[in-house]
């Protein structure tokens, strides 16, 4: 395959030859980027996350029973759950009469109405759920079902703001920030939720130290 590496690099070098002094990289404090609405240490991170996540149509939850109620009321009867969350979440759902599978079959992704996978963190300032490849058992399981439940088990992973979350992107080859359900305003600017990804985005916080 033709690779124009040398040509492109040379063209860029030559383009810059005529420049006199080149613009310096401004140093700045990332605190500049914080939204005036950001509460920082004034408020506990989860509470701020929950407010902001709700503002983008996300559903924050703190009890598995709330999830059960929501799924039952919505008629979301069957779905997938990460086996590592079997005890904490899956079994509670099964007990309540919901159908839960611990295997995600790529041949029938549309059969799962909900998908329950782990969250790698949340961002309080923006109401964002963080997923990465290591914690997400299957990218499709967190994307294809109508309802996605991201389960936060590690309370240390509540990041106050975007700069902090960027500092903690870590080594994962794929990190995705999810700020609400999938949406579009392509047709006449009218907001519709649930385009390709989930129409309902939940974040459930469980475990020690809540």
């Amino acid at each position: 395959m033709k690779n124009d590496e040398d040509t492109v690099k040379l063209a860029v070098k030559e383009a810059l030859l005529g420049l006199g002094e080149r613009a310096v990289l401004p140093e700045y404090d990332s605190a500049l980027l914080l939204s005036a609405r950001h509460k920082g240490s004034e408020q506990d991170g989860w509470t701020e996350f929950a407010e902001n996540f709700s503002a983008v149509s996300g559903k924050p939850m703190q009890e598995v029973t709330d999830l059960v109620e929501f799924l039952k009321e919505g008629g979301f009867g069957k779905g997938y759950c990460d086996p590592e969350l079997k005890q904490a979440v899956g079994e509670v759902l099964v007990e309540a009469g919901l159908q839960v599978s611990y295997e995600f079959d790529h041949q029938r992704v549309d059969d799962y109405v909900f998908g329950i996978t782990k969250a790698s963190g949340v961002i309080a300032e923006s109401g964002t759920v963080i997923l990465n490849d290591e914690d997400t058992v299957d990218r499709l399981a967190a994307l294809a079902p109508w309802v996605h439940v991201a389960v936060l088990t590690d309370q240390k992973k509540v990041f106050a703001n975007i700069p902090q979350a960027i500092e903690n992107l870590g080594g994962s080859s794929n990190v995705i920030w999810v700020t609400g359900p999938s949406k579009t305003a392509d047709i006449e600017g009218i907001l519709i939720e649930g385009v390709h990804g989930p129409g309902v985005q939940i974040c459930l916080r469980i475990g020690e130290g809540k």
Binding site: M1, N3, D4, E5, T7, V8, K9, A11, V12, K13, A15, L16, G18, L19, R22, A23, V24, L25, P26, S30, L32, L33, S35, A36, R37, N52, V56, F104, H106, V109, D133, E134, D138, R139, L140, L143, A144, I162, P163, I166, L169, S173, N174, I176, T179, P181, S182, K183, T184, A185, D186, I187, E188, G189, I192, G194, V195, H196, G197, P198
Partner: protein, 464 residues
């Protein structure tokens, strides 16, 4: 054609009322949303815009170094890196990668740069099905149309037109409810994802420090394209590089708010390389093609600042000319104020063909004021106009702006005009203080006069 009438004016005059209304109502909502969001979150976002502009300018002026860095980081992460000089080279490289992998079905997430190289047609001709997955782009594709806005490709269409297209293409009986249309697209495109063997994206940013590609979508289509198959090809303009991960925070905060009045776009992906070993879904191979296609020439020009653009679309929304014409009036992939600068420059030897575009502006300064990377678009437009003059390129419709420029460059006169400026919002055309503008404005409207920024710009301009 009279002296001050340009091709774009003819286009605007002949634009169906329905299209103009669709564009206008959509941009007005966006303008208001953007302003409210930025003011609510930052009070005065100017410091941030200037900072972002400086970071991007610095990057451009050190692009040789940052490109090397980005390439090295990507290679270290396990991605494959390619460079393409021209659109043709890029198309061939994409096809070669697909052929090597026996890939015949590509799902594509919205990317202006693939529009720029006319990739879809080329792939189709070479036996590869290439499906647009962004809802707006999908509609553009089935209609064999072209996008008329960087962020909202079907801004020129209303729901009835979309419903008719869906019906015509066998996607259900006529129904113009946007929710029904969206659900039908979800179903149809889901099958396409699941059958695909490659996913294509652009990139909003590339961090030279880590090699992270950032791709944002609201629909989740880029994510789906990178979950349902094993091959990811990203086509990236060389100007998309930023120095550090830290800077991604700066640009993401500005992009979401400027483009769609969101703090963050719904799905913000940070892609370093192929999927991790334990992950069952997603690309085992990641290819990044860095595209020049005229950018190095723009970099060499005095108008290089335009390469700071992060494609937020804000300058289109506020532009009085864009509002009357939609993006199609610009006859090029990039429309609006950014396109009026970028399209003639990217055209290279075809510059004369687009030399009229820089005249498609009232120089009101609104584009500069909203630009999240503070690009002095009016100044760049003036430079291109003078380049066209110097090269003796004759094109219709240069409004004689000399008196206006005189007013703008004389602090005293300008201040006087500024005091009266509020009144300009209410002045009938015939009472506009600058004669040539009167004729010119008969077929155009100025946005609400806000003043201040433009004067500072003119002052700075005088100094250079």
């Amino acid at each position: 054609m009279s002296k001050s009438v340009q091709p774009i004016d003819v286009f605007a005059r002949d634009l169906p009322r329905e299209t103009r209304d669709a564009v206008l109502s959509s941009v007005m909502t966006r303008v208001a949303g953007r302003k409210a969001k930025l003011e609510e979150d930052y009070g005065d976002p100017d410091a941030l815009r200037r900072l972002a502009g400086e970071v991007k300018q610095h990057t451009l002026e050190h692009l040789d170094e940052y490109l090397e860095q980005a390439e090295a980081a990507l290679l270290k992460n396990g991605a494959k890196v390619h460079f393409a000089s021209t659109a043709e080279d890029a198309r061939e490289q994409v096809l070669a990668i697909l052929n090597e992998n026996g890939s015949k079905r590509v799902v594509k997430s919205k990317s202006m740069v693939t529009e720029e190289i006319h990739l879809n047609d080329y792939l189709e001709k070479n036996g590869v099905e290439c499906v647009e997955t962004d809802l707006g782009e999908f509609i553009i594709q089935i209609d064999e149309d072209t996008p008329s806005h960087i962020v909202q490709p079907i801004i020129h269409k209303n729901r009835r037109q979309v419903a008719e297209s869906f019906e015509e293409h066998g996607l259900g009986e006529y129904n113009d409810d946007p929710q029904t249309i969206t659900r039908r697209a979800r179903k149809h495109l889901r099958e396409k994802y699941l059958q695909s063997d490659a996913g294509m994206t652009g990139a909003n940013f590339v961090s030279a420090e880590s090699g992270r590609l950032v791709v944002v979508t609201n629909e989740g289509n880029a994510r789906f394209g990178m979950a349902a198959n094993g091959l990811h090809i990203a086509l990236v303009g060389i100007e998309k590089v930023v120095p550090r991960d830290k800077d991604l925070g700066l640009f993401l905060n500005l992009l979401g708010r400027s483009a769609t009045a969101q703090q963050l776009t719904v799905y913000t992906q940070f892609i370093k390389g192929p999927r991790s070993a334990e992950q069952p879904s997603g690309p085992e191979q990641m290819h990044v093609i860095f595209l020049d296609n005229g950018r190095s020439k723009v970099l060499a020009s005095k108008e290089r600042d335009i390469l700071r653009c992060i494609r937020c679309g804000a300058c289109l929304n506020v532009c009085p000319v864009y509002r009357q014409t939609s993006g199609h009036g610009y006859r090029a992939v990039y429309g609006g104020p950014v396109g009026a600068v970028l399209s003639p420059l990217l055209a290279g030897d075809d510059f004369p063909k687009y030399a009229d575009l820089p005249k498609a502006s009232s120089l009101c300064g609104a584009c500069n004021e909203v630009c999240p990377v503070n690009i002095p678009i009016p100044e760049l437009l003036l430079r291109l106009r003078s380049r066209a003059n110097q090269e003796g390129i004759k094109s219709a419709g240069s409004p004689p702006m000399a008196p206006f420029a005189k007013l703008a460059t004389s602090p005293k006169l300008w201040r006087t005009a500024m005091t009266a400026s509020k009144a300009m919002n209410h002045l009938p055309i015939t009472m506009m203080p600058v004669k040539p503008l009167q004729a010119w404005l008969k077929i155009r409207t100025l946005p609400k006069w806000s003043g201040g920024e433009f004067r500072r710009w003119m002052k700075e301009r005088g100094r250079n």
